[in-house]
Subunit: 275 residues, 4 copies
């Protein structure tokens, strides 16, 4: 039961972006539904923290890559909890850098299932409800790989590039029906113990320290931006936004340490490109 | 005197985005400095409205395209009013659609002076102060022409395309020094009586009506997004964001009325592109 | 047997781009291998035309979306015909415009299989051979949907957006190993009787006529550009290129018939955007 | 006199791209007009080489940044030599990396004059002649800075970003009038002794050697691509294309040496981005 609160659903509710977004929307008056694949204890902890802070939340375990799971989840929430106002698709498909021949066919396919097909399935299942109500919001956490394909990112970039184009098609069809679709390009490391933390393992704390003060995105700060997007009135909707720490090099920029340095007295060529 | 409040400076403070941004930042605890080229009465009215609402503001007339004006303004504010925390460059260079041969050389140059060179001059004058303090924000109102050049937009698109690349260079050099640069692509018509309103003249009200409910960007809504960007912590900065009304076709999309229609039963080719 | 000629392989060899590319490469001294899903008669005709013109070609029927087909094809060519020098992945996934709810899950998946996964499988199977030889070229026919997602293109845009990012990852890993990957954005209708022609059916001739002189891309002209790309020396490789007829509106532009017209005497606002 | 040959005009005819393009078009049957700012001897040498190879060429010294020079050049050629068929705007504005405060106002302005305003002036002066004939081509050499603004590139990126958007507006208006506009993003160092060579000075040969075999763009190879673009029929025009050496990292990619390495056995996070 959502106590008449609008429902916020997050698929991919770990201790990073997903959990912080749930907490932010709960603090903003939503009933948060947190869905994740595993770790019932971790899930319960996130729900408990929201409730301890005076918010309202539910937790659900599901494997989003299995057929029918997302579809059943939407129906269950709409029937048992309340109308879904805002959804956050927060599943990634990052598996680290792998050469093409260390990327088996099924790995490439799984990347697509989580990174692209899941967004399609979520929209397919939930948008009919939102269209009937003439309103709703879909936030999609995305990544630098959605806008450029780096070496080693075969699976991830193909999935994320598809995700971005899909968000544009969804926006084109459903924006005029009152559904706000926003694609957030997270162009920096997030302080997310359940994903990046696990990927880096013992290197995690050292990695964060190496980034310096404010060198890793605080998922709570990102959650504030997600909440802001969800509150934009219909006359002023953002479809795409990026975010990174102040010390990070934006994805479109070279590393600022050129091989051939320049000085004001002797300005010279700066590096690998003619620019 | 800014009463110890942080200073928000807007260059291009008409009754649209500029004036609403000033009001929003004043409501958020800033002393707003509104600079515009002409109409002392209109300027006084905006300042008065902010003060009536309990905020703090000053108004200054200046012709930003004249050499030395922006530079003198920055020094005056830093000396007489207080340290500038956030600046909004809100001057446009839109002159409507003109064929190349209806775009004289001096028109093209003026577009660049207002659309691109002014941003450079503002950063040149103000960033040294901000660098000393290790903090500051530059918001730049931009336009669809910054990302694609439509027919008739020779002057405007060249100016805005330069503006966007300049914002990226400023961000690359000054982000790591604590200055947040954000480039906002306003991809829809704004309810701005002093600019678009004057451009359309007698057609203005009819134009707005033709866009339907929430069909024109409310500059107050956009100002909320500007304010949100200015409050992002250093670990989570947005450099680029877009905004448009729900019913507007995003700049990258075709008009959704294809010449050859499709149906589910008989899906067919959709229009000018093979996609 | 390729008579010691370098092998050019095209997957998706219809009477449009694929067949013309095969003919162009055969004329340029390659042995062309034409692979397509069906129509043995049509395939034989294309091979015959190449041979009649003094070229060398083979035809193979295969369903590229079936597991193992592309992989087996590569091994067969390398063993029986000769080392593959250049490959063209020319399969599309255009199904016309369909609303989200007229796009079943399996349609979306099939779009990905043909539009994205097939490129991955082809590279996976063929690149090891090319890496050993330190040279090779992969040309990928792509579409406007790879760079923007229009309404109704859910399946196609998601597949093509993934395809484009995949091409970037392949280029990043394999460029320095001597393999040239080029992604060609075909931003206009192609005179292709086997694909667009079938999609439009009885409307095909009327559609072409409506485009005017030179209003539809001649696949032979596009094949010349493909051939040029394949001949670029290693110091000057193109990764991305677009092409469209002169009368077509580029994908990033608005339709040039604004709702509110401008004249030189009275330049006014141009249409749906503030630009 | 052009001996009835179509005229190819290059503005910025040094020993790199400009000179090689002139030679390539002359070899392809054009009368080449080479315009450059200084070095009459060097200019004479380029013209002599073309003539020695059996081609036809003229050389003209002019300072393209001075008002009236480009305009007068066009009239002179049209009157005295022949109708201009194809033009290459090949002036850059690269001054090496300079911090904002090492970029004086007049440097920023000069960058714009050469990088952006010159293209506008050239089109303004020459397109009326081409429109009357219903045909013509404008090739514009561009740079990575047209698509992203790196640190230190304030002047260059603002100029090139404007140049790119200007090319799009020119294409939108003049494509349907038969004028082909192509914007070439040169995303790598060119073996150009008169520009990059001079910028790097004594480091030039060491720089080229450091890039390895085929590690610097051969301007002759690039000229072949320019020539190909100029020969595309009206139904298949390229507006934008990029080029770089095989070993260069494309502008959108990270340096491929991540700070935290991954292996197939232990795939891990790859570097500064979450991708």
């Amino acid at each position: 039961m959502s106590d008449k609160k609008p429902v916020f659903l997050v698929i991919g509710a770990g201790a990073g972006i997903g959990g912080h977004a749930a907490a932010r929307f709960a603090a903003g008056g939503y009933h948060a539904v947190l869905a994740r694949r595993s770790d019932e204890e971790g899930l319960g902890k996130l729900v408990g923290q929201i409730e301890d802070a005076g918010g309202s939340a539910s937790g659900i375990l599901l494997n989003a890559s299995d057929d029918g799971t997302i579809e059943e989840l939407i129906e269950r929430i709409e029937t048992d909890i309340g109308p879904i106002d805002t959804m956050l698709y927060n599943l990634g498909a990052q598996i680290g850098n792998r050469k093409l021949h260390d990327t088996p066919h099924r790995t490439f396919e799984l990347g697509w299932r989580l990174g692209c097909y899941g967004v399609f399935r979520l929209a397919h299942a939930a948008f009919p409800h939102m269209v009937k109500r003439g309103k709703g919001t879909l936030l999609v956490t995305s990544a630098t790989s959605a806008v450029r394909g780096n070496a080693g990112q075969h699976s991830h970039a193909a999935a994320m590039g598809g995700r971005r184009m899909l968000c544009q098609t969804l926006n084109a069809e459903f924006g005029p029906q009152g559904i706000h679709v926003a694609h957030i390009v997270v162009d920096g490391s997030v302080d997310a113990p359940d994903t990046l933390g696990k990927l880096l393992g013992d290197n995690w704390e050292a990695y964060k320290a190496s980034k310096g003060d404010d060198g890793v995105i605080d998922p709570g700060a990102l959650a504030d931006t997600y909440f802001h997007l969800s509150q934009q009135p219909k006359n002023c909707w953002t479809h795409e936004i990026d975010a990174r720490p102040w010390t990070d090099v934006a994805w479109w920029n070279d590393n600022p340490n050129p091989t051939i340095n320049s000085t004001a007295a002797n300005p010279s060529f700066s590096g690998p490109k003619g620019e």
